[in-house]
């Protein structure tokens, strides 16, 4: 799929015939006409704002426990979404939890985007032995199912947030490199690159001016698609006890600590997961919107 995706995207920017409008302008305008993508964007914006402004918006202290007020049901007076197994306000913890969950979901994708694009450009542009070495080394990572790889790496490094971030980045880098490399290899052979080289442009400026513009699009689309996977995996690692450590609020970890309450207060126990789900589906739908908006020839 990445192959066809990359192929279809290579020639797009140059096909932009609308005068005085940049490619990204057209994409943004196209995106605004997709209702599903726009709704997802609004939902994401709300979640991000709630997480970002949690210290000012949240009704309570996320760490203040109360043995008397444990597992109060959703809709209790003073506790809109109830309290968790230690009597802490759920709404507050869900808002604060979004900070770490979003951070842990987004950071690995960003890191993989930068590392993967650089490696892919290098590998695709230089070609030859360098390409072979880089791609064969990355092939090894494909021999591991991604969840298994993430769990194994962060398990070996030991539980903790930064280790999970490293593990997830390592899982995504090879995938991004493959996309970037395949586009770069295709672009490199085009005539205008040859022309640029003949007119005396150095490798660095050819990559920066002529190659990067073609590569960023497909890689960007691929990376947006990774966001939801990353959210699910990051919270999953915390759910296993490999990511964020208690008492820090994080959706996956909250889901884990509330598991003992699935018989007494099932609604409460399912709540943190619902937020992971909403965020991940919003990321997915937005990514779909971006993908079809960038497919301008359609």
């Amino acid at each position: 799929m990445t192959q066809t995706l990359a192929l279809s995207a290579v020639t797009q920017p140059s096909q932009n015939t609308i005068p005085n409008r940049s490619y990204w302008h057209v994409v943004a305008r196209q995106l605004r006409q997709e209702p599903v993508a726009m709704v997802s964007a609004v939902v994401l914006l709300l979640i991000v704002c709630a997480a970002l402004f949690a210290p000012w918006l949240a009704p309570a202290d996320p760490f203040k426990a109360s043995m008397l007020k444990r597992l109060m049901p959703v809709g209790s007076p003073g506790y809109l979404l109830g309290t968790d197994e230690l009597g802490r306000d759920m709404l507050t913890r869900l808002m604060y939890g979004g900070r770490l969950s979003l951070l842990m979901g987004v950071v690995p994708v960003f890191a993989a985007f930068f590392i993967g694009t650089s490696l892919g450009l290098l590998s695709g542009y230089v070609g030859g032995r360098v390409n072979m070495v880089i791609m064969r080394v990355l092939d090894v990572f494909y021999a591991f199912p991604s969840v298994l790889l993430a769990v194994a790496i962060s398990g070996a490094l030991g539980p903790g947030m930064s280790n999970s971030l490293i593990a997830l980045t390592l899982v995504f880098v090879p995938q991004v490199v493959r996309v970037a490399e395949s586009v770069t290899t295709q672009v490199r052979k085009l005539d205008y690159i040859e022309a640029a080289r003949m007119s005396g442009a150095g490798s660095f400026s050819i990559i920066r001016v002529h190659v990067l513009g073609n590569v960023l699009g497909p890689v960007f689309v691929y990376a947006t698609g990774l966001l939801s996977v990353s959210m699910i995996l990051a919270s999953g690692l915390s759910f296993l006890g490999l990511g964020v450590k208690p008492p820090e609020p994080e959706w996956g970890l909250m889901l884990n600590t509330l598991r003992s309450a699935i018989y007494s207060s099932p609604l409460l126990a399912a709540l943190p997961g619902a937020f992971i789900f909403i965020t991940s589906i919003a990321f997915n739908l937005l990514a779909d919107g971006v993908r079809s908006a960038m497919d301008i020839r359609r």
């Binding site: 591991f144 199912p145 969840v147 298994l148 790889l149 490094l157 999953g236 699935i262 992971i276 589906i281």
Partner: protein, 317 residues
């Protein structure tokens, strides 16, 4: 064909070898001495030396790897530090349970995904298409560990139809194919099947819609072929791609089941990995990872070999 299989086997060998390297080197990612897990912090120097030579840790790393690989090839993956039993026996009983769960789940997911995807592809733009598309988006976006919890709440806590955890009555781990045992399989396998279901639905829908728009289908129809006959052609042309995607998904489920196994306390490799990680049982971690990945490599190889049987064009390339 024979040459093709040989070539594939030849390609798989370096991958398999590098998997062993990564599995082995994982221990050295861990901070601190690998001995930390075995020896108490205040152990006297001569005890530590004795332990080091007992585990072969006093030799250079490449030698250690060579020895480990040599023993692994003979079916010896060392001794679990946590339980004191041989890693091979621990891993194989757990792998059986994981393969059972992943196998049923992927069968279910691929079957439902193919049917839904084909229907959606045929009724492009209609109600069925929209429903299938929505379902596939949900399938790929849902955190499956959460879905497991939600299904437990609905079907176990509220309705009481299926047990919430374990793999047999009274916590037994001996599997048999009667209702008493199969009941335990229902919730975990349905939970796990959602991942391949979403992706297969998406793939099949796109492929079928694409195929139906092609000229050869128009030609077949123009020749007066009925719906079923045309469908046979479409199915034959989509099969290789679907097989490749499905094969990959089955493999991912072997790793992806870790989280679902934790939710349902299923006695598979997920449980084993958990033990290995939190008790810093490195031989167990290495062994489990190695066996799971070898299955994954083998599966990819199998898909590569089966594909040209369905689509002869691939064998020649």
């Amino acid at each position: 064909m024979f040459a093709y299989i040989l070539k594939r086997l030849f390609y798989a060998l370096p991958i398999a070898l590098s998997v062993t390297v990564v599995s082995f080197m994982l221990v050295y990612l861990a901070p601190g001495d690998p001995l930390n897990a075995i020896a108490p912090a205040d152990a006297p120097a001569d005890v530590i030396e004795a332990l080091k030579s007992a585990y072969g840790l006093d030799r250079p790393v490449p030698v250690q790897y060579g020895l480990w690989l040599w023993r692994a090839l003979q079916g010896d993956l060392g001794t679990s530090i946590a339980s004191g039993r041989s890693v091979v026996s621990e891993v194989f009983s757990a792998v059986g349970n994981t393969l059972l769960l992943a196998g049923i789940a992927s069968g279910l997911g691929v079957l439902v995904g193919c049917v839904l995807g084909a229907l959606a592809g045929y009724k492009h733009g209609g109600g069925v298409d929209r429903a299938a598309t929505a379902l596939s988006v949900v399938g790929v976006s849902i955190p499956h560990y959460w879905l497991g919890l939600v299904l437990t709440i609905i079907f176990s806590t509220w309705l009481g139809w299926f047990p919430a955890m374990g793999a047999g009555p009274g916590g037994s781990t001996d599997w048999s194919w009667d209702w008493e045992h199969v009941r335990y399989l229902v919730l975990p396998s349905v939970t796990l099947s959602v991942i391949p279901m979403g992706i297969i639905t998406r793939t099949v829908r796109a492929l079928v819609a694409d195929m139906l728009a092609q000229e050869f289908v128009v030609a077949l129809r123009a020749r007066g072929l009925g719906g079923m006959a045309v469908f046979r052609h479409v199915a034959k042309n989509t099969a290789p791609t679907v097989l490749a995607v499905a094969g990959l998904q089955v493999g991912y489920l072997m790793g992806g089941s870790i989280l679902v196994e934790t939710v349902f306390a299923w006695p598979g490799t997920g449980f084993l990995l958990n033990t290995a990680i939190f008790q810093r049982d490195m031989p167990l971690l290495q062994g489990t990872l190695l066996v799971l990945c070898m299955f994954f490599v083998g599966l990819n190889l199998l898909v590569d070999i089966v594909q040209p049987l369905i689509d002869p064009r691939m064998g020649r390339g």
